[in-house]
């Protein structure tokens, strides 16, 4: 075709084309979501399981590819994250039920789950595959349709991973289009998705501008703020264990989880001993010159130097202009100030850890609180201590919604091994200008219709038998008359799915429609006089 004509017809960069592109994908997702809501629990669970199996099987492959594509992170750690956010993730929610009605034992209310519909999910470059897994599986568990918008830096692998999950889900019976991915991304296109009325909720994980844009879109959004976790080691802590956990956590996937420790706060009485344990665990304690070099290298006028994102300690030291052993796992930079005036007290998505020595327990708490007021509000904090009162004092002082105790914060705050819900979207709540203060999961993608009786009508209990919803299952395929094997004759006699027990039988449905019609007729009569 003539190149000039091709250019003329290709209007894909125009705002109109962007809008229509978004609309088409969202409309298809809308269909999938509506059909998905007809599914019963067993089918829903088997779809999520199938997708999780496919995700698990490719965990290593995608970890390797995404490290190659983005140029950062640690393959082994990404494998762990990817695996954890597939089968164990779905297992974690196995006993939850997002499909059937339930009785609230406290109030006697009967509650019916109502999926959000179409979830528009942004995926960051830091934990791309794990986040794709987490968001897709959360949507599938709740019978939502999801559109994944990958970060440009991890685009190719995310597209492939989403397709793998989509194919597995559809093969297991999910409505087609329930899982989609943007094959090209650009800011204007993403904005169209966020602004569209056909998006029911935005699940935004990523940089602050993106999250704020999600909230500004006028659509419901679950967006979370950045982290900047303080980790407090008090005098009662097992210093060796604490140091080992901190170094493990800070070096985990080169610190790209937003739950990673940012500044270590400790007390004068144990500082020296703690430093020794840190070194023993693989940390390099920087001198003043090295600290200054890192400060300059890591922070530019516009903020954190993304070149350092997810790189290893030796690489970063070299960039900053000094050498450390290649075995070095993290770089520790002593600082004397927290907040404005000390860049090293900002979020660092790389294995560089600030170290602040406080003069007293009270000062340590104040500084930890100050660190989070400066950045990372609502996110995470960690404490290593054996003193329960000190722990609760610390937790009450810092403005975050999760505090992990004697555990690596990267993994622990994200729910791995701590009993917190496993997640790659850490709700920063009101402290952190977010709508959710919990670890975000499938439960946040469902609202419930509450059915209420007068209080004197007697209280319902779960044992009293909860009426079931009529799940009609997938749409029957319409006939294509005249096409051999697809015509009316071939299609019609098949029993309608879901017309068995629990489903709405044809008779019952007819009866229901008859009632509606009768009611409408009564109204008509009234109007017509």
């Amino acid at each position: 075709m003539d190149a000039g004509i091709r250019r003329l017809v290709d209007i894909s960069e125009t705002p109109v084309a962007m809008r229509m592109r978004a609309e088409l994908i969202l409309e298809r997702a809308g269909w999938a979501a509506q059909v998905f809501q007809r599914y019963d629990r067993a089918t829903t669970q088997s779809i999520a399981d199938a997708a999780a199996r496919a995700a698990h099987a490719r965990a290593r492959d995608y970890a390797e590819r995404v490290v190659r594509e983005t140029g950062f992170g640690v393959v082994e750690h990404k494998v762990q994250k990817n695996e954890l956010s597939s089968l164990p993730f779905v297992d974690y929610y196995r006993d939850w039920n997002f499909v059937d009605p339930r009785v609230d034992p406290e109030t006697g209310l009967l509650e019916i789950p109502r999926p959000a519909g179409v979830v528009f999910a942004l995926v960051p470059s830091t934990n791309p595959i794990a986040t794709v897994y987490f968001k897709v599986l959360s949507a599938l568990l709740t019978r939502n349709a999801v559109v994944i918008s990958p970060h440009p830096a991890a685009h190719e692998t995310c597209v492939d991973a989403t397709r793998t999950l989509a194919d597995a889900a559809v093969a297991a019976g999910a409505p087609e289009g329930a899982v989609q991915v943007l094959e090209e991304v650009s800011l204007p296109l993403v904005n169209e998705f966020m602004r569209s009325e056909k998006t029911d909720v935005i699940l935004a994980t990523g940089g602050t501008p993106m999250v704020r844009a999600a909230y500004a879109s006028s659509n419901p959004a679950i967006g979370v703020g950045p982290g900047n976790a303080p980790v407090y080691v008090d005098a009662s802590a097992d210093l060796r264990a604490a140091a080992a956990r901190i170094v493990d956590s800070k070096s985990f996937d080169n610190s790209v989880l937003c739950t990673n420790e940012s500044v270590l706060i400790t007390l004068e009485s144990v500082a020296k001993a703690l430093e020794r344990e840190l070194v023993r665990a693989g940390a390099h304690i920087c001198d003043e010159g090295q600290t200054e070099a890192l400060r300059r290298y890591l922070f530019h006028e516009r903020g954190f130097n993304v070149e350092a994102l997810g790189r290893d300690a030796a690489w970063i030291a070299a960039q900053a202009g000094f050498k450390v052993s290649p075995k070095t796992r993290i770089l520790v930079t002593p600082i004397r100030l927290i907040g404005v005036g000390e860049d090293l007290s900002r979020e660092k998505l790389c294995p560089v850890l600030g170290l602040f020595v406080a003069r007293s327990h009270a000062q340590a708490l104040m500084q930890a609180r100050g660190l989070l007021r400066y950045a990372g509000a609502g996110h995470s904090a960690a404490v290593h201590s054996t003193d329960e009162q000190a722990i609760i004092d610390f937790a009450a002082a810092v403005e975050v919604y999760r505090v992990v105790v004697n555990a690596p914060c990267s993994q622990g705050a994200a729910g791995f091994g701590t009993g917190l819900a496993p997640t790659f979207t850490v709700g920063t709540g009101f402290f952190g200008r977010s709508s959710v203060g919990e670890n975000v999961g499938p439960q946040h993608l469902v609202n419930w219709t509450r059915i209420a009786w007068p209080e004197d009508a007697g209280r319902r209990t779960e044992g009293g038998g909860v009426p079931r919803l009529r799940h009609r299952g997938p749409l029957p395929r319409a006939p294509s008359d005249g096409v051999p094997g697809e015509g009316r004759e071939a299609v019609a006699p098949a029993p309608r799915p879901g017309s068995g027990p629990g489903g709405l039988s044809r008779e019952a449905l007819r009866e229901q429609i008859r009632e509606i019609v009768a009611a409408e007729l009564r109204d008509l009569l009234k109007d017509g006089g």
Binding site: G4, L8, V9, L24, A478, G482, R506
Partner: protein
């Protein structure tokens, strides 16, 4: 009805078409289409109607599809209709794009401005290629109202203008009757069989399994060409790009109109095999048409082809077809003594009513309920039900809700009692 509308209708009678204007008033459809957007029409008095007539698929992608407007505007910065005597950038680009997406064997595109003209071109090409004159079509077929095309259809349309075939060159056989088709072709004097893949104006009776492929075989055996009129069944309306492909037929000539430019800048296309279009190599000036394949239309058509072939669209068509069918099945079970059949292939649908003119009250009741669908002129038992391929779930649900109410009321109109019980008049 507003004063303004009354006044306008008078003007319409005076200056445009008195009988047609009156017909619609008598039929209870006082529609004067003003604004239009997506799958909705707005009457000049402001009432919204969901459009499931779509002018036979013209508005397949919705009224005033924003991408088509965009590309038309862009095109207008550089092109106009063009000069039909010269090789033209946009015409050739569209012809190439059509050759890529039409069934194998088709190569050239000859352009018209409307569907009938493209049918005209198909017939003329077939006659030239075979050196025969006879054209076989289906009783109650509809291929347009120009000189040759009108002769393929019902005499109701040609007799008025003293234009019916008197020379026996146009033969019509009943639909779905292979014996009759074979009899018509056996003498070996037919240039072509022209078939709507699913006869629209006849109410979308569906071809029996094997019917169309067998006609193609008969054509081959008796030296006739197969002309597929895809004016209403093309462009994804059956869930595939061309309805004829779903039936496994590779035609010699294909006619495309209506939806090819989404109603934004009309052109029509007659796509032929090299043999069927042989005159293009021998005497390219044998046919001409100033507005045929107007280049702005070609630009729009290129975008239409691109949009309709997006993978998401395929899945939309499936959802819309399945969902509407499932809903219509429920509605049918409520009014099974009146609403007696559903003919369907994709979003090409005909709803059958058990009354000789049953589709007319349904049309009127639908209109009252905010839906515009038209009865089949050549079989008024059947309502043509032609939703668009990009309809959203919520609009489809809205549509079904209205259809259920309207059919209930129409049943009352026809059967008495029931739907309108207790209401005077």
């Amino acid at each position: 009805m507003s004063e303004a509308k009354l006044e306008f209708l008078e003007a319409s009678k005076t200056w445009w078409n008195p009988n047609k204007t009156e017909f619609w008033q008598d039929a209870g459809v006082d529609l004067v289409i003003d604004r239009r957007e997506g799958y909705c029409l707005y009457d000049m008095d402001g009432r919204r109607l969901i459009d499931v007539h779509l002018n036979g698929g013209t508005y397949n992608l919705g009224h005033r599809n924003p991408e088509l407007i965009e590309v038309l505007n862009a095109g207008a910065q550089r092109f106009d209709m063009g000069n039909h005597h010269f090789p033209a950038l946009a015409r050739t680009a569209l012809a190439e794009a059509l050759a890529e997406c039409t069934p194998p064997g088709l190569q050239y595109t000859i352009y018209g401005a409307g569907g009938a003209e493209a049918v005209e071109l198909a017939i003329k090409s077939a006659r030239h290629a075979t050196k025969r004159r006879k054209i076989v079509s289906i009783v109650k077929a509809y291929h347009g109202h120009s000189g040759l095309s009108v002769k393929t259809g019902d005499e109701r349309f040609s007799r008025t203008f003293l234009s019916e075939d008197l020379l026996g060159e146009f033969v019509q056989v009943p639909f779905n009757r292979l014996d009759a088709m074979e009899d018509a072709l056996k003498p070996g004097d037919a240039a072509a069989v022209i078939m709507e893949t699913i006869p629209a104006t006849y109410g979308f009776p569906m071809p029996q399994e094997g019917y169309l492929p067998e006609i193609k075989r008969l054509c081959e055996r008796h030296g006739a060409l197969y002309i597929a009129d895809e004016v209403q069944t093309g462009l994804m309306r059956t869930g595939e790009m061309w309805g004829i492909s779903r039936y496994g037929v590779e035609p010699d000539i294909m006619v495309i109109g209506k939806g090819i430019t989404g109603g934004m800048y009309p052109i029509s296309c007659c796509v032929t095999s090299p043999q069927a279009g042989a005159w293009l190599k021998e005497d390219g000036f044998a046919h001409m048409s100033t507005a045929g394949g107007a280049e702005l239309g070609c630009i729009v058509a290129l975008k239409v082809l691109e949009i309709t072939q997006r993978p998401e669209v395929r899945s939309m068509v499936r959802y819309i077809s399945d969902y509407l069918r499932s809903g219509l099945d429920e509605i049918q079970s409520l009014y099974s003594d009146f609403f007696v059949g559903i003919r369907q292939h994709g979003v090409v649908m005909g709803l059958e009513f058990d009354h000789p003119e049953g589709a007319k009250p349904v049309m009127r009741r639908l209109y009252e309920n905010g839906v515009w669908a038209i009865f089949s002129t050549l079989d008024p038992r059947v309502l043509q039900f032609k939703p668009g391929i990009l309809m959203t779930q919520s609009l489809c649900e809205d549509l079904l809700r209205r259809v259920e109410a309207a059919i209930g009321l129409a049943r009352g109109d026809v059967r008495g009692g029931g739907g309108r019980r207790g209401r005077a008049g």
